[in-house]
Amino acid sequence: MAKKKTMAPHVVPGRLYVPYFNYYGALGSEFYKQLRDNKKITGVKCPTCKKVLVPPRSVCAVCFNNLNELVEVSSRGTVQTYTVIYYTYSPSNQPADIPYAYGIIQLDGADSGLCHLLGEIAPDKITIGMRVEAVFKDKCEGNILDIKYFRPV
């Protein structure tokens, strides 16, 4: 049988380019407004279980209540857990140069953890239960990076 003729693959260039705008929603807007204008971190309090959720969400996952009572929480808290990133996977979408650390921080007055960067500390010095405080940007723009990172108290 004759050898089958093959052709080089014809490669077609493509690109998906989609600029978009994502609304934070009613409670999320209030959260970022307080962050931007007053440098305050807010949570939402469930009227049934009395838990304070940070960042605020509109429904309590335990009681299924609609939530709308915003309360201020402290900008200091405790590291519940953390992870260190040593790998660059998408430079434009990563908030810092490697190695950097994410922590889940339970703020004083809140009952849930807030995920954010841990800064001003070597990654191998971070411990669970460490006390940290938020460092705010000088010029806030209404996004989560208005908090630059959390640093040890």
């Binding site: 077609v12 998906l16 989609v18 600029p19 807007s29």
Partner: protein, 165 residues
């Protein structure tokens, strides 16, 4: 809604701008790839033919969608004249986003469905400044880009236009 201080204010909605920007290359495969290469290098329009039901497949497909049998490979294809009749057309006036540039394209264009003389339909842009000349059954012909501008894409076909009498 109550704010952190318990008083009512008019709601300001905030959000964040973001961008999806994904370049990618895809291989057109032996059938569509050969079709695009022929369009680019020789300016020829081909269609594959189902070996069972004998209908033409344009752009050429590996498998006939009705008979589920394999169509022969190039060059056992049918060369098309690029001429045919206009079946129907529509003027698209709604602005649409070009997914490869993210830009909203405001310019209206005419999209036509053409029955080629070999008996297969093909859809492409129609170029005709005077819309009143467009009639069902009007003779149209394919116009390609000049050879040095062709890139092996379906946009190498510029448009179809009415055949001048």
């Amino acid at each position: 809604m109550r704010t952190a201080l318990g008083k009512k204010e008019s709601q300001e909605y905030l959000g964040i701008s973001n961008l999806v920007n994904l370049p990618f290359n895809w291989s057109a495969g032996p059938y569509l790839g050969r079709w695009l290469i022929e369009l680019r290098d020789n300016g020829k329009l081909w269609a594959s033919r189902c070996s069972k039901c004998q209908r033409l497949l344009l752009p050429p497909r590996v498998i006939c969608g009705i008979c589920h049998v394999r169509a022969p490979e190039w060059p056992n294809w049918v060369e098309l004249s690029g001429k045919g009749e206009l079946i129907e057309w529509e003027k698209v006036v709604a602005p649409q986003m070009n997914p490869s540039t993210g830009k909203i394209e405001q310019e209206p264009y005419i999209h036509g469905n053409i029955l080629l003389d070999e008996g297969v339909t093909f859809q492409h842009h129609l170029e005709e400044p005077d819309e009143t000349k467009l009639k069902e059954g009007a003779r149209v012909e394919m116009v390609l880009k000049p050879k040095h501008e062709r890139k092996g894409l379906v946009t190498d076909i510029l448009y179809f236009r009415l055949v001048k009498e």
